[in-house]
């Protein structure tokens, strides 16, 4: 999987949690929760969606450090050994 494909998949997971958001327009380097209204339940559901779609189970401690789309995509890429 290329990094672009991975980014699209992660954005797709977010789009299912927050259907009103144009996920293609999100800035990948800016804090996600500054751009999208996500509460703790949404955030957990997003992580669950990433786990279901990509098979990447992000530990609690790591998830707290991931603030931007770039960081999430990089983390998943590293775990999947691609990108």
């Amino acid at each position: 999987m290329t990094r672009d494909e991975l980014s699209t998949r992660v954005r797709g997971c977010l789009g299912r949690i927050a259907p009103e958001v144009d996920v293609g327009a999100l800035q990948s380097g800016a804090r996600l929760r500054d751009q999208v209204d996500l509460d703790s339940v949404d955030w957990l559901n997003f992580l669950v969606a990433v786990h279901a779609d990509l098979g990447v189970d992000i530990p609690d401690v790591e998830a707290a450090r991931l603030a931007t789309l770039d960081q999430i995509v990089d983390y998943c890429g590293a775990r999947l050994g691609t990108a």
Binding site: E20, D39, L47, V48, V50, H51, P59, D60
Partner: protein, 392 residues
């Protein structure tokens, strides 16, 4: 014979529009089955039936707007013959009063919709369809067709008079009506207390460290459980104020205020919270939030809360001054968990702290008992492992 009526959909909703029947005459229905989908100003709701039986006749057509209490269908009990039930349905039809037992809130509007339920307001199919599209209740329209039938033109004219309310506008009006009633009728008092969460957050971190995302615990269920166990000790905060008196809740069903995407909120119930272990409560909460936002709540969830918990979450502010949902008598709010300078054993150090606040009804309780309630919430949250276990 069992009459299936539109149940209460919570204090702020006194009518609904039938969207769809999920059963047909002849179908067997078990207690708890979802039999119809009813639209409200807030969301489409799955309506359950609380009796076992066989559907004899559906009395309300999709598209009809009906008040709470309207007989929607008739079920046959075991041992009854269709002939026996038919006779009773005919008797029911002859008596519009029997058809719709209005809730207090729906009293003024009950007469016409009762007749509608019995099929007495004549509406052309095209007019009914158009009324559904425009969100206009046909029973409120004076028909100009033959025998006073409501025509397509009547519906269009009525819709033009009432500004076409979008879902968002309708929801805002519903919330406004409930909150105006709360502020008008309930003499609120407010209390707040800072609750240190070092033990609780450490407990969650430890439990979550080795867990998959699919089993991860949030703080919210611990907060809800602390409130539920606290009101068991102080039951005057759990229940309803009805007809001039306090009525204790039949259990502790915690309404959870959930902000909807696109605006507005609902506060459906988590049932029998004290009896749940924390993993169950966590799962039920995630499910409830997801279904609230997807618009697939059940009627019992909207009508049952005995107390409400509102948590503004980690994107929110430090404290909330919560407004009671009538006819409930108390609401507990939590602000954002913040790192604050906190004194433990004479030394200042950083600690995660949340401000818990109480809005309560002075007709039922007073500040002293309210203070004890919040103190109990604080104390319970210092022993998260106990809070996590189910109580019998």
């Amino acid at each position: 014979m069992i009459t299936f009526r539109l149940p209460s959909l919570g204090a702020d909703m006194d009518k609904g529009t039938l969207l769809e029947w999920l059963v047909r005459p002849g179908d067997a229905v078990k207690k708890g089955d979802v039999v119809a989908i009813v639209d409200t100003t807030k969301a489409a709701i799955d309506v359950e039936c609380w009796h076992d039986g066989t559907v004899e006749e559906l009395l309300v057509e999709p598209g009809a707007e009906i008040p709470v209490g309207t007989v929607m269908a008739v079920l046959r009990e075991g041992g009854e013959t269709p002939e026996q039930v038919r006779a009773q349905i005919d008797a029911l039809r002859a008596s519009p009063v029997q058809m719709a037992v209005p809730s207090a809130a729906a009293t003024q509007r009950s007469a016409a919709p009762a007749a509608a339920a019995a099929g007495r307001v004549r509406v052309s199919p095209a007019a009914r369809k158009r009324a559904g599209e425009l969100g206009v209740g046909v029973e409120s329209i004076a028909g100009t067709g033959p025998d006073g039938a409501v025509t397509l033109a009547d519906v269009e004219a009525a819709a033009a008079k009432v500004a076409p309310a979008s879902r968002a506008e309708a929801m805002r009006q519903t919330i406004a009506a409930a909150m105006a009633r709360s502020k008008r009728e309930i003499p609120h008092y407010y209390l707040a207390e800072d609750v240190p969460l070092a033990v609780a957050t450490a407990y969650l971190a430890e439990r979550n460290a080795s867990r998959s995302v699919t089993e991860r615990l949030l703080l919210a269920p611990l907060l809800v459980q602390a409130v539920a166990r606290a009101v068991q000790r102080y039951p005057e905060f759990n229940g309803f104020f009805r007809d001039g008196a306090f009525v204790p809740g039949p259990g502790v069903h915690c309404g959870v205020a959930i902000a909807l995407r696109g605006g507005g909120l609902v506060a459906p119930a988590l049932h029998d919270v004290p009896s749940r272990d924390i993993d169950t409560l966590n799962r039920e909460l995630l499910d409830l939030v997801q279904r609230a936002r997807a618009g697939s709540l059940k009627a019992s969830e909207l009508s049952d809360p005995t107390i409400t918990v509102t948590s503004l979450g980690d994107q929110g502010v430090r404290s909330v001054f919560p407004i009671i949902y009538p006819p409930q008598v108390a609401i507990v709010g939590f602000g954002r968990v913040t790192e604050r300078a906190w004194i433990v054993d004479g030394a200042v150090g950083p600690a995660p702290v949340v401000t818990a606040s109480l809005g309560a009804d002075h007709r039922v309780s007073d500040g002293h008992r309210g203070a004890l309630l919040l103190a109990a919430v604080r104390e319970l949250l210092q022993r998260p492992a106990e809070l996590a276990k189910a109580t019998p």
